[in-house]
Amino acid sequence: MMRKSYNKELKEMRDEVIQMGDLVLKIFNHSSDTFFDKEPVSAEKLEKMVKKLETIEKGIEKMAASIITLQQPVAKDTREIICAVRIAMSWLKIGSHIADIYEYSDTCPEKIKNNPRERDVLKTIKAITHEMLIDAADAYKSRDTDKASIVAKKDDEVDLIFEEIRRDIIKENDTTSFSLCSLMIVGHIERIGDHIANICEDIIYLERYEIVRLN
């Protein structure tokens, strides 16, 4: 019964962070469809979703500032606020990397279709990223630190693929726009993986008061 409105404010802030995770997943699904499926999502629709992401992120910042000012949080509540702001920022950055990847959909998809090997690699990396996004969002929702550590480990797989493609390009001295396109995409995905790992670190800090480096 104590501090009802305070508890409510903290919960609202958490819910907003959860909403950002869900929205990022939607953005990811829509824009990857553009690469692999027949029904491409419109640029406007994607832009709208990214704008919404920005709005929620700003809102979380404002909520955090007002809770700190008016409620003087301590103990886990302080971490709850710090992590909400940090995780919201990570989701926003992930969203904008996905939007950047989408930009390549004008020029890349035809070429990707014509190269089964590259197409497979991109599909694999898409699947890994998709899973990481789902699991990270889930780990935050369910406060699951074990899951958070596992998710962050998957980032290594992304890094390996990124390395492989990079080496491939250098070795074959093949600077065709096709491979370069993949490299750019995977470069963004590699950054997304880092942000997911940051989210997982924040979840662990939040729940266990431990500062860990997961990548």
Binding site: M2, V74, A75, K76
Partner: protein, 316 residues
Amino acid sequence: MNATKSENAFSFADTLNGENEFDSDEDDFESENEIEFENEIEFENETEFENENSGEPAPSFSTGKVKKKIIEVKDLDLWYGNNHALKNISIGIPKNKVFAFIGPSGCGKSTFLRTMNRMNDMISNCRIEGEIYIDNENIYAKETDVNDLRKRVGMVFQKANPFPMSIYDNVAYGPRIHGVSKKKIPGIVEESLKGAALWKEVKDRLKDSAFSLSGGQQQRLCIARTLAVKPEIILFDEPCSALDPISTRKIEELITKLKKEYTIIIVTHNMQQAARISDYTAFFLSGELVETGKTVHIFENPQDERTEGYITGRFG
């Protein structure tokens, strides 16, 4: 009512005279930066509790490896009649630090504070078991001189309680009854008023009644009165609960400054105050010491969920 008004008028006039409360004591106060710097150094050098985790009772009595505490409380129990008000308390209070006691009303904070200068002796149905050592001397031993103890362990109360006499006489009172020679008294009064960051505000009106001071000034006068008998330890029982934010900050700064020369224990209901000024915190509940440790640990990552419930305000 009228008194309150004129008190306000006083501090307002002081402000108009350019006597900004925070600047007025620059002679006897270090600048804020200096204080911060010193704290940093102190933090780095602070090795005595290296292994201490907020989960364990911070300064334990029997651990020989930690630096000596000025106060050691061992298995202390206290009853008021049948009311078991303090239950098996063991704690060490390090020298020249600020130690905060927190906990809900009635948990025994004031009672515990009073055991340290035997103020509970005056309560007829109060019974105490256990030991309290100050400088290795059991203060509950038969040979303890209680007057001497109360000189060494000063106390400042929630409500400022100046004596009905002049500002000067309030401060001179303690030294006089302890037989300090007449010649030394003016020096002690000045030094004590400076120590309590009040000198500049009262030096031209020392003969005025203590009641002509504002609430915050009266509280600093009581601190000066305590300092005048040169204690080692000062106990503060909610010293700011009747004060406005500016007077509160002033007392807080004063406490932070005083710890260089004195060991300080403060009871407070204000969590932010405990966090701001104390080095160590102990949380009490229903007469039990639930958790104690460095203040930063207690407030960032309490180990006991009752502590967390209390400091986050979700208690009860």
